[in-house]
């Protein structure tokens, strides 16, 4: 499914990457531990997290993840967005908490 369809279905905010929304999302991975994502997330997945610092973008880029979704209304730091722009990693956000967001996303992607 395209990131744009997910953004529209779940009414996500786009902090960065309006022009990158046509990329394909293959699944999702929810974790706030960077090493967990590093070790276990797969290419093309959305990363659902509450971590807002720039290392999240570093990990997403190294793992070729499709986008970062910040939960609970958390907003990205300024240098997070700068790096996201350089690395072409879309950063989106929701007011939902992780459990709720993942439940809906899971059904959408099924």
């Amino acid at each position: 499914m395209k990131l744009r369809e997910i953004k529209e279905s779940l009414n996500l905010k786009v902090y960065l990457g309006e022009e990158l929304l046509d990329r394909e999302v293959t699944g999702g991975y929810a974790s706030d531990l960077l090493s967990d994502v590093m070790g276990h997330a797969s290419e093309g997945e959305l990363w659902i997290t509450l971590q807002t610092h720039k290392n999240v973008v570093g990990v997403a880029s190294l793992k070729d993840l499709s986008a970062i979704i910040l939960v609970k209304g958390f907003t990205p730091e300024k240098d997070t967005l700068e790096l996201a722009e350089n690395e072409s990693i879309p950063v989106l956000g929701t007011d939902m908490q992780t459990f709720e967001f993942c439940g809906i996303l899971y059904n959408l992607l099924k």
């Binding site: 706030d32 531990l33 960077l34 090493s35 967990d36 590093m38 070790g39 290419e43 997290t49 971590q51 610092h53 720039k54 290392n55 999240v56 570093g58 990990v59 880029s61 190294l62 793992k63 240098d79």
Partner: protein, 137 residues
Amino acid sequence: MHFEYKVEGGDFTLAGYASSQIKKTLKQLGVDPAVIKRVVVALYEAEVNIVAHAYRGVINADIQPGGITLILVDEGPGIPDVEMAMKKGFSTASPQVREMGFGAGMGLPNISENADSLSIETEVGSGTTLTIVINFK
């Protein structure tokens, strides 16, 4: 092909730089994407370990037709108990490091799972040297 990167302890803003550069180089060389993924995980974790635990370090990456050898030498506290450090979930990271989502005790296990060989030489009060080898085929 040989590359060297310096890593400063405590500076998370640059953590992952070496991993990103090596990833780009391996892609250009046409290395199997599945192998690149393993190199990236192992190197990133080793790089973050220097930032999180050591005072400073140097990463040496040697790329040969058959594979890559990564040697990470740090000046730092050393690892008092390597066997414990290899256990999933065991961590000596500071609360600040953990708050960022690092220091979950998964670094060395991630390196070990993705490397064809991993050796750790460490001296308490002096530093640690990690040698990671990943074959391309």
